[in-house]
């Protein structure tokens, strides 16, 4: 019964979709804006798109996820109007689409936090230096007792090389966004997977987006070079003390429609920025350091 209902709904949806698609093509009274890319940025865009539709009934926003890489390559091939990304555009990607003039719009910020199992945190490891974390990932330190913690082997959790979160994290920790982690014990993918593994272990270290911290996975504070301690809190991320932050961006080209640009100015407006903070990220306005669109200047 459920299956039949679903099938019927599905076919109706498909039909309706193709029908509107046709009308959009023939009589262009509805402007389609296709958006795709990073699943980190998507919650912001999807929520904003709903609000935007309420006031702009003549614009159809179609939002899909797929990853930052998918976003930029679809934009490059002209399949979409706006690409969502949680990392910068790579030189390779600029090269691949030479004829296009990419414009990067920062719409919010996010922090990547080194996280450890609550057992280790409660045993006294509450902050580490960048060098110490680097040594863990390189495999030079393999027991928590060397860092003032309990006598337990460290379960080092790495992430898939293509993940935006890993690239931002390793850029800071190892100084190379593709840096090798020889000490890694597990390689996982999404924030979800990483958080589960950290929760299940009592001796793990990993990396997560700010929004994913909880009682089982504790964010480590970073002891900066000057001796100052940066806490993984919204305050320290916003005032720029916490060093591992990234811009969440949307990208357009010279071919993107005026409706696409209008939607982006909505994202940057007060209403749009409220949505950014509601979805768990950091709005542009509250960060003291200027988040320009140029690459990696925000470290």
């Amino acid at each position: 019964m459920i299956i039949t209902t679903r099938a019927i709904l599905g076919s109706i949806f498909c039909f309706a979709f193709s029908a509107t698609g046709l009308t959009a093509c023939t009589a262009s009274d509805v402007n389609k804006v296709a958006i795709s890319g990073s699943s980190t940025v998507m919650p912001i865009i999807a929520t904003a798109a709903e609000d935007y539709r309420a006031h702009h009934t003549d614009t159809r926003l179609i939002v899909n996820a797929g990853g930052s890489g998918v976003g930029i390559s679809q934009l490059g091939r002209g399949q979409i109007d706006i690409g969502m990304m949680s990392r910068d555009i790579r030189p390779k990607e600029y090269e691949q689409f030479k004829g296009l003039d990419f414009t990067v719009h920062a719409i919010g910020r996010d922090a990547v936090i080194p996280v450890i199992s609550s057992e280790v945190y409660d045993a006294g490891v509450t902050h580490l230096e960048r060098k110490q974390i680097a040594a863990i990932y390189r495999g030079e330190i393999s027991n928590w007792k060397d860092l003032g913690g309990p006598d337990k082997e460290i379960l080092v959790i790495d992430k898939e090389a293509s993940r935006g979160t890993r690239q931002v994290f390793m850029e800071y920790i190892l100084g190379d966004k593709d840096g090798l982690a020889k000490g890694a014990d597990l390689v996982l993918g999404s924030n979800n997977e990483e958080q589960t593994a950290l929760t299940q272990s009592d001796s793990a270290i990993g990396m997560l987006s700010l929004a994913w911290l909880d009682d089982d996975v504790r964010g480590l504070s970073l002891k900066l070079e000057g001796g100052q301690i940066a806490h993984p809190t919204l305050d320290h991320v916003i005032d720029g003390t916490f060093p591992i932050v990234r811009d969440l961006i949307v990208v357009t080209t010279q071919n993107s429609s005026s409706e696409a640009l209008d939607f982006i100015s909505f994202l940057k407006s007060d209403a749009g920025q409220t949505i950014v903070s509601k979805t768990g990220y950091i709005p542009l306005s509250s960060s003291s350091s200027s988040s320009s669109s140029s690459s990696s200047s925000y470290y």
Binding site: L180, D185, A197, A204
Partner: protein, 303 residues
């Protein structure tokens, strides 16, 4: 045959024979499957073989690092073979014994319900197995063996064993059940115990079919992706010593599952991944062919 009165209604005969629907349907479905196989083989060969031209020696190392152009596939090959082996070692004895129990010992009325229940296992999506693996199996293994993490090659093997069990049980049970009853009665008439009937009469007859079932199950084990990917730890490393299956690893399929969507089409990284898929395809073809061979060579029994 020819003397039997023709009592069948005429219209289906007319419809199917004159219009040729049957032939059309058969030809179309054969063409569709043959063409998809051909397309898969061609795609894999065209996209995978070029990697051999650019430093094929690198493939036989255990260093995988696309950023610096290293594509060593040995850890993935090791993981794939080991996981499949563990799965077979667990599932084969269990499966054969279950098949014997269902076919020879259970009351007839139980045969269908028990088989149906086992076959239900085959219908569960592999992602569900993966989730159960993460939620129950991995923590259990880390407790029992005192490991840092239960996400190991062994965990992948156990999950796979459960997943291929239905294939082995169903096909092996069919093989036993298909042996005419007269063989058992003859054995009993000669004074054989039941286990002797199974061991000395039924097993030699059903053996080739059962081995065929094993090979088909092995093929499925090699190709399984999601469940293994979630529990194996996904690290491109051959454990030392080689027999240390309680350490994390990587299979060809889990590697593909994690990386294929992020690679640029046609890049060396992509080619290396496709090349591994090609290896998997070759293994699968060999296994399927041998399974066919095993099940076809024996002369069929007649009642």
């Amino acid at each position: 045959m020819s003397t039997q009165p023709d009592i069948a209604p005429r219209w289906p005969t007319f419809f199917f024979k004159r219009v040729g629907v049957t032939r059309l349907a058969i030809y179309t479905s054969v063409a569709v499957s043959a063409l998809s196989i051909l397309a898969i083989c061609l795609t894999l060969i065209l996209n995978g073989l070029p990697i051999l031209g650019q430093g094929g020696i690198h493939l036989l190392t255990s260093d995988w690092n696309p950023a610096s152009g290293h594509y060593g596939i040995l850890p993935m090959l090791y993981g794939t073979v080991t996981v499949a082996l563990i799965a077979m070692l667990i599932a084969a004895p269990l499966g054969i014994l279950s098949a014997i129990a269902i076919s020879e010992y259970l009351p007839r009325a139980f045969r269908i319900p028990v088989k149906a229940a086992l076959e239900l296992l085959a219908g569960i999506p592999s992602i569900i197995y993966g989730l159960i693996g993460i939620a129950l199996l991995a923590p259990f293994l880390s407790d029992v063996f005192d490991l840092q993490s239960g996400r190991t090659i062994f965990a992948g093997g156990i999950l796979l064993a459960v997943m291929i069990l239905p294939t082995i049980v169903t096909l092996s049970e069919d093989a036993l059940h298909n042996i005419p009853h007269v063989y058992r009665e003859t054995g009993a008439g000669l004074g054989y115990y039941r286990y002797e009937i199974i061991k000395d009469i039924l097993w030699p007859i059903a053996k080739s079919d059962i081995i065929g079932a094993m090979l088909l199950a092995l093929g499925r084990a090699l190709g399984e992706t999601m469940a293994v990917m979630l529990v194996i730890g996904s690290i491109d490393r051959i454990p030392s010593p080689l027999t240390n299956i309680l350490s994390p690893g990587q299979t060809i399929t889990s590697k593909l599952g994690r990386e294929i969507s992020e690679t640029a089409f046609g890049s060396p990284h992509f080619q290396a991944l496709i090349f591994m898929a090609l290896i998997l395809l070759v293994i699968a073809v060999v296994l399927t062919a041998s399974a066919q061979f095993m099940t076809k060579t024996e002369t069929r029994l007649v009642d």
